[in-house]
């Protein structure tokens, strides 16, 4: 998929008016919403993330691209600790998560489950395989986090859920079960479920990779609108059209390290590094 | 206590004998019943179905009593405990083996049948060269699991006074008046044998899964 898809009908992000002033994450103390320092992660014997530093400002949309196995999904999952980094630090709104302990093998990060759960309320994640709860209706799916985790009252949760479902265009499907919806509709429910928690940052892990081609557009549109509305987003995707149109910054990851980053115009149209060029060239053949 | 161990061992040998014979006959009879059950002719498959369901849906102990007490009178024969035990457990196992056989064969994808037919293979060639070799692998596992179950079921023959391990346990207990020691040792013997057999089967299962992957 190259840079010529329907979502590319807006001028590149760099030319648009600055966003973020009304974003959900206020820059109260000037600190970035998300900050990763020296993130390392190994699986078994091999090191997948070899020291990642990343800062995401409020209202910024960061798109991460890279080959399979480059570590981009692992990086995303380290942000909400579905994977636990072996070393490095994660700061959410200036607060660091986890405590460093000194062991015989050097310093290690230790996390308490309660601390992680509390932090995850402020980070929304959308999965490649949607992961909707099949035994609950659409609106119950969106309400679940509000009731079980945020402890809202049922009616309040329901009102909020319906509002978010309407925002993603699924107001008529609220009482249906996920199995009756198309892939694109299910993913939009998943987005609403994450948004209903009113997170400070939204993570998208190849949100459209599992969708049939004709359903990709409706999900990308929702993501575009979200980005334009000022949400802080970190998006792992292969959809270069979306990256070009919606990203404030594009990051190319290669073998566990940030190889090159810049504006979409810089990275996608005029990449400087050889590997970046090779990667983008490879995509053109699709 | 340990002087009585030979008695227990002779009981164990009794249990194993019954297990072996019932396995053999059960397998043979099961192999005969299974094709009947799978036949498309209702006058063959229905009686086979009844046979299988009767033996699967009645408690083995009830079957044993029926064959030991009722059957001899009905057919004017005399059964020693050993014979009644072997007959009952053979027939009971045959019902399960017939189902294992049937499930194994029917679990082979339709595609295999269709491909063989498309080449023009006859029924027996198809069974012999394509279907059975694939089915047998899955059935061997079920066979071993059934064999272990059968060994556990042999304990029932102690109730009709056949000298299996459990029966000898009651004999020794009545001589030594130490039920706790005797029954615990016998329970441990059963548990050890069956656990070892189960672990063996599980290892075989893993080897099969790896070969399939």
């Amino acid at each position: 998929m190259t840079l010529s898809d329907p979502t590319n009908d807006q001028p590149p992000a760099a030319d648009r008016a600055p966003r973020g002033a009304s974003g959900p994450a206020a820059r109260a103390n000037g600190a970035p919403v998300l900050k990763l320092e020296g993130i390392h992660k190994s699986f078994g014997g091999s090191e997948v993330l070899k020291g990642i530093d990343l800062e995401v400002a409020a209202g910024e949309t960061v798109v991460i691209i890279g080959a399979s196995g480059s570590g981009k999904s692992t990086l995303l999952r380290c942000i909400n600790f579905l994977e636990l980094p072996d070393a490095g630090r994660v700061y959410l709104k200036g607060e660091s998560v986890g405590t460093t302990v000194s062991t015989r093998r050097g310093e290690r990060l230790v996390f308490k489950e309660q601390e992680l759960n509390a932090m995850r309320r402020h980070v929304g994640m959308v999965f490649q395989s949607f992961n909707l709860f099949p035994h609950m209706t659409v609106v119950q799916n969106v309400m679940e986090g509000l009731v079980s985790v945020l402890r809202l009252k049922r009616d309040e949760a329901r009102t909020r859920a319906l509002r978010h479902l309407e925002a993603v265009g699924l107001a008529e499907k609220t009482e249906q079960y996920p199995s009756r919806l198309s892939g694109g509709q299910q993913q939009r429910v998943a987005i609403a479920r994450a948004l209903a928690m009113e997170p400070d940052v939204m993570l998208f892990d190849e949100a459209t990779s599992a969708l049939d081609p004709e359903l990709v557009g409706e999900v990308l549109q929702v993501m575009r609108d979200l980005s334009l509305g000022g949400m802080t987003m970190v998006v792992v995707t292969h959809e270069m059209g979306f990256a070009y149109a919606a990203a404030d910054r594009v990051i190319f990851i290669h073998q566990g390290q940030i190889h090159e980053q810049g504006t979409p115009e810089e990275i996608l149209k005029h990449p400087k590094q050889e590997r970046t060029k090779a990667f983008l060239r490879g995509l053109d053949h699709i | 206590m340990w002087d009585n161990f030979p008695t227990l061992l002779s009981g164990l040998s009794g249990s194993l004998q019954i297990t072996g014979l019932a396995l053999l006959f059960g397998l043979l009879i099961g192999l005969l019943v299974a094709p009947l059950r799978m036949s498309s002719r209702p006058w063959l498959s229905a009686p086979a179905g009844v046979y299988i369901n009767v033996f699967r849906n009645t408690p083995p102990l009830v079957q044993l009593f029926w064959f030991f007490y009722a059957f001899p009178i009905l057919f004017d024969v005399s059964f020693r405990p050993f014979e009644a035990a072997v007959v009952t457990l053979s027939l009971q196992s045959s019902a399960f083996f017939a189902e294992v056989f049937r499930a194994g064969i029917q679990s082979i994808e339709r595609g295999q049948w269709e491909a063989s037919k498309a080449i023009g293979m006859g029924y027996f060639t198809m069974m012999r060269r394509i279907i059975l070799p694939q089915a047998v692998k899955r059935m061997v596992l079920a066979f071993f699991e059934r064999a272990i179950e059968l060994f556990k079921t042999t304990t029932l023959v102690s109730t009709i006074a056949f000298a299996d391990l459990l029966y000898q346990a009651t004999v020794v207990t009545s001589q030594t008046f130490r039920p706790l020691e005797v029954y615990t040792v016998v329970a441990a013997m059963y548990i050890l044998i069956i656990t070892a057999a189960s672990l063996g089967v599980r290892r075989y299962e893993m080897r099969l899964a790896r070969a399939d992957a």
Partner: protein, 221 residues
């Protein structure tokens, strides 16, 4: 075959059969309840991340799955009272043995059911910030239980078959009553055939119900 079947001999004993059947249901019911509850607990212990909880529960499950049921019954009736220095009724011994046996088998069922739930469900719940307990309660268990119903009902049928073994330690269930009636009437053929037929009806009906249930549950997936 010159035998004359005469089932009318059993007519006065119909209430006796009925009493036996009642005890069978009582025994099966109690053991199912206790067994499944204990089994769920065992499954949670067995799959917990706390090591000292895992291996004792694993050993317990192995022991009670692998020991023959009759051996368990006999042990709890004759050996266990000596161990604890108290007497035990036959019914209590049967309940203990059959419940523990059912618990061990159903523990493996529960574990399998929970593990069959797609990983993504765990991740989605955790991404929302759910604690493990909330995750289990709201997301995992409701889905797992639906899948576990067919094997659990099969367990129930197996258990009902096992209650017949309790007759050997003089629990007055159906088979025991059959033996009693045989001892009085000297007609083993009629007595045991009736017992067999009653079991057959109950268990075959149960199997058919399970199959129907399996089909219905399979549709909604």
């Amino acid at each position: 075959m010159g035998y004359q079947f005469d089932f009318t001999v059993l007519q006065p004993y119909l209430p006796t059969f009925g009493r036996g059947l009642l005890v069978t249901f009582q025994l099966a019911g109690v053991c199912l309840l206790l067994g499944f509850t204990a089994g769920l607990l065992l499954a949670l212990l067995r799959s917990s991340r706390i090591a000292p909880l895992v291996w004792p529960s694993a050993v317990f499950i192995e022991i009670f799955r692998n020991a023959p049921v009759l051996v368990q019954l006999v042990w709890f009736y004759y050996a266990f009272p000596v161990l604890i220095g108290a007497t035990m009724s036959a019914f209590a011994a049967a309940v203990l043995a059959l419940s523990l046996n059912t618990a061990a088998f159903s523990a493996e069922l529960f574990r399998g059911g929970i593990q069959s739930i797609h990983r993504g469900q765990w991740e989605a719940g955790r991404a929302l910030g759910m604690s493990n307990l909330t995750l289990m309660r709201r997301i995992i268990l409701p889905q797992a239980i639906k899948r576990m119903i067919p094997p659990l009902t099969n367990r129930a049928i197996e258990l009902t078959k096992m209650t017949a073994l309790a007759s050997t330690i003089a629990v007055p269930e159906l088979l025991y009553q059959g033996r009693l009636i045989n001892a009085v009437t000297f007609r083993p053929i009629e007595s045991y055939t009736v017992v067999a037929v009653i079991y057959l009806i109950i268990l075959w009906a149960g199997t058919i119900l399970v199959n129907r249930l399996e089909r219905r549950l399979g549709e909604s997936d």
